[in-house]
Symmetry: C2
Subunit: 465 residues, 2 copies
Amino acid sequence: MKISCKKWVRDGLYLGTILLLSALPILAEANGSGEEAAGGEGHNFALIFLWIAIVLLIAKMAGLVEKLGQPAVLGELIVGIVLGNLALFGVNFFEPLKTNVIFTFLAELGVVILLFQIGLESNIREMSRVGLRAGIVAVIGVVVPFVLGTYVVGPMLLPGLASTTYLFLGAALTATSVGITARVFKDLGKLKTSAAQIVLGAAVIDDVLGLVILAVISAIATVGAVGAGLITWILAKAILFLVGSILLGRFLAPFLGKMFSKIHTGHGMKFTMALAFALVFAYVAKLIGLAPIVGAFAAGLVLDAVHFKFFKNPKFCEDIKKAAGGETKISKEMREAIEHHADRHVEELIEPVSYLFVPLFFVWVGMGVDLTTLGDTRVLLLALAITAVAFIGKIVTGFAVEKKDRWIVGFGMVPRGEVGLIFASVGASLGVISEEIFSIVVIMVIITTLCTPPILSALLKRQAA
Amino acid sequence: MKISCKKWVRDGLYLGTILLLSALPILAEANGSGEEAAGGEGHNFALIFLWIAIVLLIAKMAGLVEKLGQPAVLGELIVGIVLGNLALFGVNFFEPLKTNVIFTFLAELGVVILLFQIGLESNIREMSRVGLRAGIVAVIGVVVPFVLGTYVVGPMLLPGLASTTYLFLGAALTATSVGITARVFKDLGKLKTSAAQIVLGAAVIDDVLGLVILAVISAIATVGAVGAGLITWILAKAILFLVGSILLGRFLAPFLGKMFSKIHTGHGMKFTMALAFALVFAYVAKLIGLAPIVGAFAAGLVLDAVHFKFFKNPKFCEDIKKAAGGETKISKEMREAIEHHADRHVEELIEPVSYLFVPLFFVWVGMGVDLTTLGDTRVLLLALAITAVAFIGKIVTGFAVEKKDRWIVGFGMVPRGEVGLIFASVGASLGVISEEIFSIVVIMVIITTLCTPPILSALLKRQAA
């Protein structure tokens, strides 16, 4: 990769200009109105428009990391960390975004749309081909960190705490946050590889296992014991959802597609059907206790180009064919190329929506990183040890797959993200996770999240070379 | 228009099936969880996903009104009215949407994106060509209803009230809500006509005049008088914004386009730049007291295809050219057709986002219609009289334009929408507008909003015939 010095200076100048432009409203606003918008009665919608515009522009500028060979998601995370910690330097303009319910909703919608896109791009046949291996990866990736955290490293590093505390610490180490890894695969165009399919499949199974663990340890922490009936019930409804939604969806999608195409065959209807599928599946997943992104991913898997065969947009074909001198003058290859590009595929229609929401999610995740937690040396050292366990517990899963995919799958399972934090918060709300342990979990989440994109991208490039 | 009976039965069956499908989650949810999501601490994001999916699907189904020759927006408004009044029949599932801050935000974003799209499709040269006529239309359309409401119909129908009450009633009759009319022009593909350009231009000027009126009458109601300095200042900053944003935007857009294209030339960057423009303009408009949609419209006017000339996506051209047997074998006409379709224009990139948000806005507007206000006969009769004034006050503006556009411009200015309601709410908060008069204004807004789409669509079709 050759980068000329002159180009860097120019890029730097551009970057400076934009940062200055972005800073204007911040200066104009001072600190007051941002906080005003977040709190209490009236939400200042216009201010949220401004926030979105600035966040999207800066996140796009951070696409410069791609020139360093890094995936774009890393840039977005870093932008989030910078914006989220500007308050340390007295700039409070972005502070309300962390808790603003509208911005948080948009971020959440972003990750739902991302997983839906990834589901659309994934192949259900390829997925079930790797199903067994994904299952083994998921089980190892849950059992190893849980056992290490609960029975080895927890009692060793933090002696004298209640056994339920260790249970929650171990549980917080289990759940892979698939958003980061999926974005890296997507950024680098590797979603169709077997490694990507294994990681995606494992992450879904992982979420189901995490659901069971959370229910079990919560029951232990509150009533002191747990019945086999509860575990069976949680597992049963999760499996029922995944299998049921895919079977029912594959049956319903062509039927609904035909039905809605009677009303309209335009892009609007196609888009609406696809998005509604994603949102309804996300809702049902949440309803039974799974993450909404698992539902959105299932919706993407279910939907297939064939369900949209009733939607046609022939204007484009006509234009090109007329210019070519009419139907008869066109070769077979030509006709196929035109037909292929004739209609905007559902992926293409969803893409602009993802341009809007997906960066908001990763910036929002980055904003959650509180750099001051890195200040306490004791906590930091403990956190580094726990983080090492978090890495090891997932990297070992790589040994369940083919040698060529070993490290990619292992590191692909590493990021923890919001799921680990949810476990820790539930523990905190039950009074078994102290503030110190919560900080440790936060640092573990930060490090696993930030280290994965560069490592994974290096591994994928080495494999391709 | 011929519609066979069989087709209608089939459409009806499909409609029934979908309604049944949509009703499932409603039944499953019972009434509780909807209210839970709206109120207090925790927002249930997954439930909002479900709401969005259902609203979008039902709104799209209402596209059936197009088979009756009506614009799609009428269907969306009717869906909103139905969903918003289901509580009368004991179904409270959609009730929280009326006040849910996230849904309201998404609706507001929808109308901002709609006006941005309309700005993109409008031609600034055509717009300034009709500028003078638009100005006259705007002034007549503000002065006539204001004078009629404040000095004639108000004191006549509602005698014995404070003069400031009449002032607010008159003011509530002035401001045209451009969203409805613009959607009708868009639905029928008439945005480029001179009538559409006049109405759009007049609506922008109208908003500026409305801003001045609101400031003046608020000052009269609170301090009893108003200085010429205040009026001048409000007018000056509004004009400064409109002229300044368009001039500055036209200067900045190519510069920013070039700069951002250094980082990335993909669709994502193009989309982000365009959307950020719209959102920043919407924010600045709000900041100086104008409606955010005026800013978004100005942003659309400013942006032009030429600002995106640095963004190229040649993959598509290659595909088609290769299939045709290489560059040399392609005729000039053919090459032009390919180049024209080669890149996704910014309008195309914004479109899917509008599929998501725009229907939410019109459904939300419809949901605001409280059918019980139509129950009180005295209020209803008074409201009908005031509504007649609202119609007459705008229809007369048609006499300022060419004969062929007369009725289209006149009726195009009729819908009042949220601006009239804002005036009435400000009056209510100052204690000069009673609940009864507020209901009257609400009914006037309902009728002007609902009658315009069918009337305008009939007029446009008659003109085309």
